[in-house]
């Protein structure tokens, strides 16, 4: 048995004999993963947007001869945001203190301008300059788009009523409109000659053309429409992204804490001096802590992946757990846990005492994980910092291994990143462990 294997077996035995520590180590990262998941889920919840009605919109508005119940329309279209009715002053105050993320103002004269149909009235959107502003702007654009669709339907219906009046006749204000139907009948009673025949031909062509007007108006208003059939896909909580983040977060916590604690414990127990007397090289000592992180990380990740897969399968979710990809996932977990284990060995050697090492590991792991969760568009500096830390590469590795149709290019790139980061951490850890017995 190699020295690394001897030390690994010792560390696993020590871990097994510390049941409280073991339970805490295994459950803590899972709890944190769930909490992060909840926070991420909350981030997807509808943001509060103030609705400032300076115009004093009536409950029912007639636009283009079509009647709209304003609140019903707003309720229908505001699925992306929670609209809160506020005065302009309250809205400004809540926008400045962050209680609402945006304000939408209906300015004075809005309805009058809408009724003219000669110019487009404006809704005024104000957002803060925070990370949510882009998202809220997109959602309000979506809201305005959907309002326009509703209005288009009203305008089209009003126009079609006028077209029907031309076709079939009827009252238009004080006028009695003849209509093409009656005109054709009247022409049929007249002595038939070339002029009457031409007029009747015009009436037939006009009726055919007007019959197509409805479709033409709808097609012009919506050149491309989006169909949204119901699909039994994964819910957010079962998404591939959440699984990748969950496993990466759990493995990061576990590997960093374990390797840091186990490395510092060699000094706490006074055994580092005994080991360094030519029995174990510095490289072997660091390698044993990396192996510990990898073995425990793979075991825990396998458990999580299998549990997740069973839930997905039992739930009959389409695109369920890709069981054949599980071994590939575990290779990635072993690699990521080893790299994070090297970081843990470095922390343990620097902290020199297991309690300090554990505290340091917890203090470091949270920002590392949260940096990896920041989207590139939100804060590019955070994104670039996270590129030089293992967490984001672990997430990309796991996600590609589990769900990409052709994962090999991504796996290759992320493996190189992880190996590069791991090599640097290995060298630093080896150097730091040298000072551990001093």
């Amino acid at each position: 048995m190699t020295n690394v294997a001897v030390l690994l077996r010792k560390d696993l035995t020590v871990l097994r004999r510390s049941p409280l520590l073991l339970v805490a180590l295994l459950s803590y990262p899972i709890v944190i993963a769930l909490l992060v998941g909840l926070v991420a889920g909350y981030a997807n919840a509808k943001p509060r947007v103030a609705w400032v009605d300076e115009e004093g919109l009536p409950p029912v508005v007639a636009v283009g001869g079509h009647r709209f119940h304003i609140q019903t329309v707003i309720d229908q279209v505001s699925q992306q945001v929670t609209l809160v009715k506020l005065s302009s002053r309250e809205a400004a105050r809540e926008l400045s203190n962050g209680k609402v993320v945006a304000t939408i103002t209906v300015p004075n004269g809005f309805l009058a301008e809408l009724g003219t149909t000669t110019s487009s009235p404006q809704l005024v959107l104000r957002t803060t300059s925070g990370g949510l502003s882009q998202r809220v702007t997109e959602q309000v654009q979506s809201l305005v788009y959907q309002l326009n669709r509703k209005l288009q339907a009203g305008f089209i219906a009003a126009n079609l009523r006028e077209v029907q009046l031309l076709e079939h006749g009827g009252k238009f204000g004080s006028y009695d409109v003849l209509g093409l139907d009656e005109m054709d009948g009247t022409l049929a009673t007249l002595p038939q000659n070339e002029r009457v025949a031409r007029l009747r031909q015009f009436v037939r062509i006009a009726r055919l053309a007007l019959a197509q007007t409805g479709n033409a108006l709808h097609a012009t208003a919506n050149p491309i429409s989006l169909a949204q059939p119901k699909h039994k896909g994964r819910t957010w909580v079962l998404s591939a992204q959440v699984q990748s983040y969950g496993i990466a977060l759990t493995v990061t916590f576990l590997a960093l804490l374990l390797a840091a604690g186990a490395t510092a414990a060699e000094r706490d127990e006074g055994t580092i001096g005994r080991l360094r007397r030519g029995l174990v090289s510095l490289g072997e000592l660091v390698a044993s802590k990396i192996a510990l992180a990898a073995v425990v990380g793979v075991s825990l990740a396998a458990g999580i992946a299998v549990l997740f897969g069973i839930v997905v399968d039992v739930g009959g979710v389409q695109g369920g757990q890709p069981w054949p990809r599980l071994p590939l996932l575990l290779i990635g977990v072993a690699l990521a846990a080893a790299v994070i284990g090297a970081a843990g060995a470095l922390l343990g050697a620097l902290a020199r005492e297991s309690r300090a090492a554990s505290l340091l590991a917890v203090l470091i792991v949270l920002p590392v994980v949260f940096l990896g969760l920041v989207p590139r568009g939100a804060l590019s500096a955070a994104y670039w910092v996270s590129r030089f830390l293992p967490f984001s590469h672990a997430v990309a590795w796991f996600s590609a291994a589990l769900y990409d149709t052709s994962p090999w290019r991504t796996l290759g790139i992320e493996t190189l990143w992880l190996l590069g980061i791991g090599a640097v951490l290995w060298l630093l850890a080896r150097r730091a462990v040298r000072t551990l017995s001093a």
Partner: protein, 204 residues
């Protein structure tokens, strides 16, 4: 007298503090050396450097690498039993399991209790047993009797006598002047420097 272990100009610094000034020490066959001096004199530092447990800032250590080291504070894994500790270090020392059984018997250790639950005396005996796994020719002990009762102290001196009797070399640090009688050479340290090196005919 054939030298078994030799330190040549070894030094140790902690930042600006010089824990051990350049020191030359030679341990020969049949020698039992007592390292004496007050706290902070550099006794533990010198022993740890000779054992290879601590890297010297300067100088070098030459000679037989079969060195047994008994650190001042017991150095073993508290969650492992006495047997498991001995087996672990036996595997690293490439020593057979029969040696583990022999040491457990010789030191009368409770083999299957976690070493963290042992009495201070038993822990120190395990500490000594671990140092004898590879049947060292040189034995280095750092205040080995500090926490032991008279019976256990006698056992430690028996071990010292065994190594000495087999032609090995022993070096032990002590603050107890009475223990110097077990040595045939005394090295006095003060402020990290050797201030005396006396050969006596006290042993045997």
């Amino acid at each position: 007298m054939t030298p078994l272990l030799r330190a040549v100009g070894v030094t140790r610094r902690y930042g600006d503090v010089e824990a051990l000034a350049p020191t030359d020490v030679e341990l020969g066959e049949g020698e039992t050396v007592a390292l004496v001096g007050p706290n902070g004199a550099g006794k533990s530092t010198l022993l740890a450097i000779l054992a290879g447990a601590l890297e010297a800032t300067g100088g070098r250590v030459e000679g037989d690498r079969r060195v047994g080291w008994v650190p001042q504070r017991p150095a073993h894994y508290a969650r492992l039993t006495a047997r498991e500790n001995l087996v672990l270090f036996a595997q690293l020392e490439r020593v057979g399991s029969e040696r583990v059984d022999a040491l457990l018997e010789r030191f009368d250790l409770p083999a299957d209790r976690p070493s963290g639950e042992l009495s201070i005396g038993n822990r120190q005996r395990l500490n000594v047993a671990l140092s004898l796994l590879a049947e060292p020719r040189v034995l280095l002990l750092d205040e080995p009797t500090a926490s032991l009762d008279p019976v256990q102290r006698r056992r430690v001196w028996e071990v010292v006598g065994d190594v000495h009797g087999a032609g090995g070399a022993v070096c032990f640090a002590t603050q107890n002047v009475e223990e110097v009688v077990h040595a045939n050479r005394v090295i006095a340290l003060q402020h990290g420097r050797v201030v005396g090196d006396t050969v006596e005919a006290a042993f045997g």
